[in-house]
Symmetry: C2
Subunit: 314 residues, 2 copies
């Protein structure tokens, strides 16, 4: 049984794994190597280093464990055709992402960019308008596992949370939940609007100019789902017209964001390079999910946690 990691965990994480599974031959190599691919039974990857050819070469491959939530860059059809099982680290992002979102909201409310700028100039300046998160209302569009964690933290700050999802069914840590088709009428109630929507045909360019017109001018809009929920040109227009107070963007229609994009330059935008799920504890947490799955696999049990349909995308 050969397990091939296309990245190299730190020794303090790798060694206990190797020790725990003496029956497994592990290879750790930070690039998908054809020789290793040819022989591997199980592939552990961030999901961005595979193509149709890799799948063709990997004749023995039966299971891909993706150390990521997004699988957009994987060769879906080739994996599906071979009937390779795919599972991922669903849920691993929720704590670091929710912390990033809280960090950005609190930073704006408590004037951290102002503090940093004045420090860099060596100026003692108290003339900022510091506001509070406490008592705000937040709308979370697409409140899945990550949205629930965001809701949980926001509620600790006594924020009223509104969820918006397809069904309109109650979602955890949301004070109320509505159907996404009622979005337009809910937007004026929230001064924090967070999109956690994935990229699907239904969510592409879902947010329109009219949606942003409905928001209050004090709104902080955060996109930590996928970039194509708003067209880039529309986003630029909204920021130019100052329809909202601030946009915090961790995702973009085209990534990396192009060097000449206007988005870099606005005062009322924060450009985060799609890394808000990163965490120094990420690999540790991934291996905590991987190990029980590998144990099951070795016991011939293919009913792994977080299995996904590669064509459907979740």
């Amino acid at each position: 049984m050969k397990v091939y990691f296309t990245f190299e965990p730190r020794p303090d994480l790798r060694d206990p794994l190797v020790d725990e599974f003496p029956e497994v031959e592990f290879t750790f190599h930070s690039r998908p190597d054809k020789g290793h691919l040819r022989e591997t039974d199980v592939l552990v990857t961030y999901g961005e280093d595979l193509n149709d050819e890799s799948i063709e070469i990997a004749k023995n491959l039966k299971w891909i464990f993706v150390v990521s939530a997004g699988i957009e860059k994987m060769p879906h059809q080739a994996i599906h055709n071979r009937g390779i099982l795919v599972s991922n680290v669903r849920g691993i992002h929720k704590k670091p992402m929710a912390e990033s979102i809280l960090a950005h909201i609190l930073s704006i409310k408590r004037a951290l960019p102002f503090i940093y700028e004045n420090q860099s100039k060596g100026v003692w300046n108290k003339k900022a308008q510091l506001s509070e998160l406490n008592g705000s209302t937040a709308l979370i569009i697409g409140p899945g596992a990550i949205g629930a964690e965001i809701g949980r933290l926001l509620q600790a700050f006594e924020v009223y949370t509104i969820g918006c999802n397809r069904s309109g069914d109650d979602a955890p840590f949301m004070n109320e939940t509505h159907k996404i088709e009622n979005l337009m009428s809910i937007l004026p109630k929230a001064e924090i609007v967070i999109s956690m929507l994935p990229s699907t045909p239904e969510t592409k360019h879902l947010l329109t100019y009219e949606h942003f017109k409905q928001m209050s001018k004090d709104t902080i809009f955060l996109n930590f789902g996928r970039g194509d929920v708003v067209a880039t040109d529309l986003l630029i227009r909204i920021l130019e017209e100052k329809l909202i107070r601030h946009a915090v963007l961790d995702v973009f229609e085209i990534e990396p964001l192009q060097a000449d994009s206007k988005l870099w330059k606005f005062d009322n935008v924060t450009v985060s390079p799609h890394f808000s799920s990163h965490s120094s504890r990420y690999v540790e947490r991934s291996l905590d999910i991987f190990k029980p799955s590998l144990r099951k696999w070795l016991n011939g049990d293919e009913n792994l946690d977080n299995k996904l349909d590669i064509l459907r995308g979740y």
Copy 2:
């Protein structure tokens, strides 16, 4: 009955106050004017605009309502000698200050300064080490009302909270509490150390080089109490020697921090201009505390909330 505010609340806050107390003659004037002082019965002030002479002039003055927690800049002896009652807005700071502290900790953990810097250069750069607040241990030295609010929020992030106070008695939202004389042995356990200590003879220069030596190199130290708990020279030495990861300072021995202070220049320090209690909702909240006290006062009841001993300082 004359009530004199030495600041001017926004009309939407001032007008309801005036309407609620038709029997009171209010004056709002952003500077302590001798003519008004001479006639006032009640003074509402931020506590930084009075001296011995003001108290002498204000012959009718019987109650000073201080819209602040700190009363260091008030003429203590003159107020005491006249037997003027002093009350303040104790507790008003806890929500905005706790939010500022969370903002700073999360900003460092989730690499916001790195994000802002790369955005200003127009560079898409994911090469930051993002860590998590989740699962950390925090030590709060002097956990009063503000410390409890900090503890409450930290616990929402699954942080283990340790309080350190004079008595060692249990404090709210602290997983454990110790006597301050045991500080040295507790310091290695926490990677977040927050001082909320007031300035008193016992707290002056309480933190020594040895204390910082006890902290882990990853420690984030935050001082949001009073600046003289650490000598400025010592703080500079600690930052130069990189004994800790980062210091976030909202208070300083001398304020404003001198333009030529070395503290402005360190990468591992954040200089905040002693305004972390500021909030756009501050006056609103102050008036919410003031109104019931004024009602009592008009009814001849001098047993006001948040009365304090001007000489003792709390």
